[in-house]
Every structure is written in C-alpha cells, then in structure tokens.
C-alpha cells in the first residue's frame, strides 16, 4: 500500500481526448518526495528545451504535495508547474484552498495536462469517473462565476474547482489560475491553461488517504496544533504585526496599511510616500475594509484564516488573499475602496495581483512620457481610476494596446520600443516584482533576489529575521526558544548582528553566513513545496511549527519512507538542482540572475560579485550558475549531466563549454 500519497497520476491528452490513470514509481517519491519535486522530474523528462510554452507538448501539471490530505494542519497546497510564457523558464506557483486534498481523496496525486483541446472544455474528476466536458457555455465567464456554474450544473456543491477567467482564455502572460480563496498566480500559468483549452478542473473525492504509522503521526500533528496555539498567543515582540505571527501575511486581519503605504512604492514602483498616512486616511480605510470584509476564511484543515470574503458595494462577493489588498490601490495612487473594488474584476478575469497593477501603471507612465500617445488609448476615460478599469478590460481581452500590455512589462517594452525599456524597470527574469525600492544593499536579499527560481521574494525569504534587533537582550530573548534552526550557528549570527557599526549590513552577516542563511531559507521553501505545506506555517514566518527537525518524522510516519534530516536535505537539494537544470537547459545563466537595477540605491559591486561567486560554489554550481559534474553525480542526477554534455552545456570532463552561454537573442 502507498501511504500519504495515492500512487496514481491522471494523464490527460487534450488533443486526443484521452484519459489515463497511471501508477507512479515509489522510487521517485523517495528521491523527489512529491509536489514540486516530482513535478520537476516530469518536466525534465518530458519537456525538452525546444518546447515552447504554447506548444502542445508543454505540460501543465497540477501536483498535490506528498502530505496533502493527511491530518497535518495547513497541508493543502497544489503546486502548478509548466514552462512560463513570460519568463520562458519553469514556472511553479502554489495555491492553498481545498483542491489538492480533494484530488487526493479522489485517488490521484497529480493531474498532468498535455496537448490542446480544439474547443473550450472543462474536466470533471469524480473519484474513478473522469470526463472531459464541453465548456463553450462558460467562455468569457469569470473564474469564480465559472466555479459556481460548474458546481450547479454537476449538482455537486462539494466539488472543488480550479478555473481561469478571460485573461487565461486570452493567454495573458500574467493570467492566474483561481480557486476560491486561493490562486496560482505567478508566471502566467493561467495562460498555459487557456492555451490548452481548459476552462476549469472540478474534483470530488470520497476515498481514504492512508497513514503508515498512525499514532506517531497523530502525535506530531497534535504537537503542531498545540504549537500553533502557543504562537498565536505569543506573537514575536519587536517585529511588525504581519511578521510576528503565523500564517500567510495576515493582510485581511491586520490593519497594516500604514506600513505598506509608507514603505512600498506607488505607481509604477516609483514613488515612496513617507508621510502618506494620517488620521483621516486611517479612519477612512479602516471603515472601508471593515465594511467590505464579510468573514475571515481559512484553507483546508487550518485555523489561521488568512483570507477573507470581500463584498464591495454593488459588486458580487469575492475572496481576497494577501497583499492584493493594496497593489491596485498603490499602482493607481488611489484609495483602498478603489483597490478592493477593482480587485473583484481582476480576480474574476484571473490576473496576478502583483503583475497586473504594475503593467497598468507602466502603461500610464509611458503615456505621461509621450512614448504612448492618445491614439494608443482611444476612448480611455480621463480619471485615474477609470483608466485602470479601462486598461484592465483591454488587457484581458487583448484589444488594441491591451494586446501588447498583456505580455507583461518586459515584452511590452520591447514591442513598444522608443525607450520604453527603461520603464520596465522592476523585473527579475522578465517577471514583475513587488514594488520595493530601498536605500542600501542587503546581502541576504541580494542573493535571494538573484538566485530565487520562483522569481518571487516571498517564496524564498523567511525563518531568519529580516533585520537585526536593537539590543542584545532582545536578541538573547529571541534565540532562547529558537529551536527551528538547523544549526546553532544561526543563533550566534543573529546574536552578533547589530543595526550599526562593524557587525552590521552590508558586511555582516559575512558572505559565508549569508550563503548559509539563504540556503536554509530556500531549502525550507522547497521542502514545503514538495510536501504541500503552506509556507505560512513553515518556511515564511519566524519560529514556525514545521521545521527541519520534525519534517523527517512527518515523512517517515506519514508516508512510510525512512527519512532523517540529512536525507531530507539531500532530497530537497536534488529537486532544487533539477529546477535549475531545467532552466539552465533553457538558457538561464548568471547574467539573468540579478535584482532590478534600481532596487537599492547604494550598491557594492565587489561585495555582490563575491556573494555570487561564493554562493554558486556553495551550491555546487560553476561560475555561470550551472550545476557541476561532481555535484550532479553526488545528487544522483547522472542523467542531467549526460544531457548537459550532449547539449554542449558541460564538456566531457565537466568544464563549462564555450557553447554554455547562448547569446541573448537566441533565447527570445
């Protein structure tokens, strides 16, 4: 018997309309765990670098994490992976909610889509019965609306549905896949789903998920639940509210608008408004949020209530998560009422809440600069809010200038030309980033921005405090019950870390320490993404209930796979390397690994070079960021090495070959 996982994937070929249920190899679970890990293995094996995002051969994989559907609190992530139309690299985005556990209860670990359906369809997975159904009547419908219509038409209110809106149907490069209170938004996954002609996937499952050693496993689960209660009662002193507790950033619960509006950038990530906040705004915004927010809601099997249902006046109710609360508001230089209102349309259209507002602000900046002119915006209203609604409509329909903007700022700027490139200034690897512009280089964040392959800072940071605490006493108090550290050296680094003076940024933590910290943080995210754990209970917050010391026990007693810290670390390194290998094979090199030019005002080129050199080496990559022969063999990734040699990325003796760095234009 297979434990925790079901041992079956659903393989759906949309071109042929075929559906197969395929047994998976337990050996792969041991090597790559599940979720992101096994997704990466499948993409490596089956999607060669010649395959373009919108080729029928590209796969769109919905993978549940290894422990999803078990009693482990907060383990509910669906990891969606494909080749991104925007970055042209591997995209993987996680969504919470209820879909992954439901898929497990239906008897599958993953749904793998290939090919393209000639007409718009949706999938209905009801335990053993799987159908491809006509969705022509759902064309153009909102993502949430689609989910409701499907549940009604199937007469199955308990079905869980992932769906795309108009943006996905029209292959907008930053289209999301929505699922009630959650979404897989980054990297344009919705565009690939739309390209495959799949409007939605509905799932209902009523089968058991088995646990290898039930008593042991339940004891671990109870411990976690107790610790969550303890952490809820004992927020971490001295850090801002959204970092003090557990959960995804508690944007719906906590009134933290002052901090975000004064520290993040407005418009096209340009203007910092340090004195924005005042009593009037505080009162007005508080009233807005409190009057529109109907209820705080959770994902499957989790008490943390990180999302909310929002009902803007005169508009349907929708579900909001995280920082989308403010991205539209700030991009449009408007207020919260506008932000929560337009987010309703944006969620139904299905666009990424980070990219979409920035793309629109970028367009208006080009207009102000005269690079785009009135003839690009026929009929656009004069008021700022009206313009945002107008632009959003054009983008998701790919009409006029919207067709260009729908490719994101990087590609749009190249298409527009005429100096537009320098307005697409907030991207990493062609992907829009959080609107943050800061004064002095932070070496830890520098490494994370450069080398993170999820290309989103919130998906690599966490665990280690973002800033030093002021006094030694505060630091001592913090490290006292900091048992989550993989090694006590992290406590020492933190104890010695001062806000000013010799042991302060950017030279302390020193280069080696930065490597250790970044590696630890990244490792925890990669483990979460394979197990299906919410980062909000693990890799993201300080002092989380899940950590490197109890995860191996969860895997051993839950999935029945012998696991210890070393073996788990090794597995995480293995599929992390595989993600990199996929991207290397697609041309990613050191030149792609850099933060937005203007992210920090004060830069330290020598230090930055040393950081990158040291970190690459530390990770087992050569100076171009390519995993070395020795490292690949050590990870048991011989097949990657062989492929690299065949493609001329590495030579027979493991050196980087001259063909190793393709010129930029080849990639585009």
């Amino acid at each position: 018997m297979r434990y925790a996982e079901t041992g079956f994937n659903l393989e759906i070929d949309l071109s042929r309309g075929s559906i197969e249920r395929e047994a998976t190899d337990p050996k792969d679970t041991e090597l790559y765990l599940g979720g992101l890990g096994t997704n990466a293995k499948i993409l490596w094996d089956r999607v060669p670098p010649e395959t373009k995002p919108f080729d029928p051969e590209n796969l769109l994989i919905f993978g549940s994490g290894l422990l999803c559907g078990t009693p482990a609190t907060g383990c509910n992530r669906t990891i969606v992976s494909t080749i991104s139309p925007q970055t042209l690299f591997m995209a993987f985005s996680m969504m919470g909610g209820f879909w992954a556990p439901e898929l497990k209860y239906a008897g599958y670990d993953k749904v793998i889509l290939r090919g393209k359906s000639p007409n718009l369809v949706y999938l209905w997975i009801n335990n053993d019965k799987v159908e491809i159904r006509d969705a022509s009547h759902l064309k153009g419908k909102g993502a949430g609306e689609t989910a409701e219509l499907i549940k009604k038409e199937l007469k199955e209110p308990k079905a869980q549905v992932v769906s795309i809106g108009l943006a996905g149907e029209n292959r907008v490069y930053f289209a999301s896949i929505e699922q009630g209170r959650s979404s897989a938004s980054r990297g344009g996954l919705g565009a690939v789903m739309g390209d495959k002609g799949v409007k939605a996937i509905a799932v209902r499952g009523t089968k058991d998920i088995n646990i290898a050693r039930p008593e042991e496993y339940m004891d671990l689960c109870k411990e976690v639940l107790e610790y969550i209660k303890f952490r809820n009662d004992n927020p971490i002193p001295g850090v801002m509210p959204i970092l003090a507790g557990l959960g995804s950033p508690q944007e719906m619960k906590v009134h933290d608008e002052k901090w975000h509006t004064e520290n993040f950038m407005w418009g096209n990530s340009r203007t910092r408004r340090k004195d924005f906040w005042n009593k009037e705004i505080a009162e007005e915004w508080m009233k807005t949020l409190d009057s529109m927010r109907r209820r705080l809601i959770s994902c499957y099997n989790c008490p943390m209530t990180c999302g909310a249902t929002i009902q803007p006046p005169g508009l349907p109710t929708y579900m909001m998560k995280c920082f989308t609360k403010l991205t539209y508001t700030m991009a449009a230089m408007s207020d919260l009422e506008f932000g929560l209102g337009i987010a309703q349309s944006a969620t139904e259209y299905g666009v990424d809440g980070f990219s979409a507002p920035q793309v629109m602000a970028f367009a208006l900046e080009l207009y102000d600069a005269g690079i785009l002119t009135d003839k690009d915006f026929p009929g656009m209203p004069a008021d700022n809010e009206g313009r945002f609604y107008w632009l959003l409509d054009r983008i998701v329909r790919r009409e006029g200038i919207g067709d260009v903007l729908a490719n994101g700022t990087y590609w749009a700027a190249r298409q527009i030309g005429n100096g537009a490139e320098k307005y697409a200034h907030n991207n990493i690897k062609k992907h829009e980033q959080l609107p943050l512009k800061l004064s002095m280089l932070n070496p830890i964040y520098f490494l994370m921005y450069c080398t993170g392959e999820k290309i989103n800072i919130t998906q690599i940071e966490g665990q280690f405090p973002q800033a030093p605490f002021l006094t030694r006493e505060e630091r001592e108090a913090f490290v006292k019950d900091w048992f989550q550290v993989p090694d006590d050296k992290f406590k020492q680094i933190f104890l010695d870390w001062e806000p000013r003076g010799e042991k302060s940024m950017p030279f302390y933590p020193n280069v080696q320490m930065c490597c250790d910290i970044v590696d630890w943080q990244e490792r925890m995210h990669y483990i979460d993404d394979a197990l299906g754990m919410c980062a909000g209970l693990s890799s993201f917050p300080l002092k989380p209930p899940y950590h490197i010391h109890n995860y191996p026990k969860f895997i051993s007693s839950g999935a029945g796979i012998d696991m210890d810290e070393a073996k788990l670390t090794q597995a995480a390194k293995r599929y992390r390397t595989l993600v990199r290998a996929i991207n290397i094979r697609r041309g990613m090199r050191r030149k792609d690994e850099k933060p937005p030019e203007d992210h920090w005002k004060k830069r330290f080129p020598e230090l930055e070079k040393e950081l990158m050199d040291t970190y690459y080496k530390f990770k087992g990559w050569n100076e171009q960021g390519i995993p070395t022969k020795e490292y690949l063999l050590e990870m048991g990734l011989d097949f990657v090495y062989e492929d690299f040699v065949k493609r001329g990325i590495l030579t027979d003796n493991g050196d980087p070959s001259s063909k190793g760095t393709p010129p930029e234009k080849d990639k585009e």
Binding site: T206, K207, I297, Y300, C302, P316, T317, Y318
Partner: protein, 201 residues
C-alpha cells in the same frame, strides 16, 4: 447543539399493581448532558472537524482519513457567507413525506440542510463505499469530542452539564395511543377488539 447519549434516556418504569393503573414515577438521578455549542459565526470553513472525525473513526484509529466519512458536515458556501456545521443524528429508514427549505437573513439554504438524519433521499452521513449510516457518537472514549478539539477558533466548544432534576416520566406512546382510542370509541369497544385480535392469534 445538544446531543443526548442514549444511556441517559433510558428510564426505569415502576408498576404499582395494587392501584390497578400504570403509574410512572420519576427517579431522581444525576445525568451528564454533553453539549457541543456551535457558533456558526466563528466558523471559517476549514473542515478540520470533518478531517479529524473521519480519522478518529478509521480502523485502526487514525490509520486513514476521508472527510466524506465524517459525522460532522460543514455546509460551506463562502460567496453567500454560509458556514453551518451539522452533526449526524439518527438513521431514517424512510425519507420524510415532505421537505423543508429555510431562508435565514435572506440566504436560502438547500433542502433538508439542517437535518441530521442519514436518509434514503440523500448521500450525506453515509459511508461513501458501503452506504451504511453514520452517526455522531461524541467520540466515545475521548475526554472531549475531537471536532471540538481541532476547531481552535471556537466555532465548536464543549461543555458537560450535570442535570439534577429528572423529568416527569412520560407515558409511552402505546399508552397515549390507547387513551385516545378509548376516548373516541369507549373503553369497552377497545377491549372487545383486543380480545378478538388475540383469539385470531
């Protein structure tokens, strides 16, 4: 919500032959009433209660879980702000003659939404494979119902109440029936009918 375990409902009957009538007398006895308070306003729809209920009732305990086997069910419709935990009660052999359908605060609920019965008319509160009825047993053997324990947001809370005063023992159904027949036809007619029936054997 109150769930009365069957044990507390059993009462002793005392017959007093001398008076020739059936006399029902209440017995003073302490009884524990187990109460799960449901505050639907606090429910966030996470279904942790469903998960743990199904895991607890797996055999062996916790060896598997499957919310479809749970004895508690969350009616969850976020867009209409509906979150109602409902517990599985008695099994109904036949479905009701009619249906009920509630509207509360302008929100329409599905037919039979709040009914606790596992009933031929629907699939709720039945084992998904065998179709056997499910019924909440208050997690027999545990100090506290597990759904309550896992609902850390206090949508479900638990209390045990000691009830001192036993209620007046009520006449049984058959007595009520006979009494009404006697009122209608006269006692003699009823006795004749009983005699006729008993002769037929």
């Amino acid at each position: 919500m109150e769930i009365l375990p069957p044990k507390v409902l059993r009462r002793k009957k005392i017959r007093n032959k001398a008076e020739g009538v059936i006399n029902v007398k209440a017995e003073k006895k302490k009884k524990t009433v187990k109460v799960i308070n449901i505050n639907a306003d606090k429910c966030n729809g996470c279904r942790a209660c469903e998960m743990i209920c199904s895991a607890f009732h797996a055999a062996p305990k916790y060896s598997s879980n499957n919310p479809a086997r749970s004895r508690i069910r969350i009616i969850r419709e976020p867009l209409r702000d509906i979150y109602v935990p409902v517990y599985a009660g008695e099994h109904a052999v036949a479905e009701c003659a009619g249906r009920d359908k509630y509207t509360i605060d302008g929100k329409e609920y599905e037919e039979c939404a709040f009914c606790r019965a596992s009933c031929p008319s629907r699939s709720d509160f039945k084992e998904p494979d065998s179709g056997l009825p499910l019924k909440c047993d208050m997690c027999e053997g545990e100090e506290m119902p597990l759904c309550v324990k896992w609902c850390t947001v206090d949508a479900l809370t638990y209390e045990e109440r000691e009830d001192e005063a036993a209620e007046e023992e009520k006449p049984e159904d058959i007595e009520i029936g006979l009494e009404s027949l006697a009122n209608k036809y006269g006692l003699q007619k009823i006795m004749d009918a009983v005699a006729r029936l008993s002769q037929k054997g």
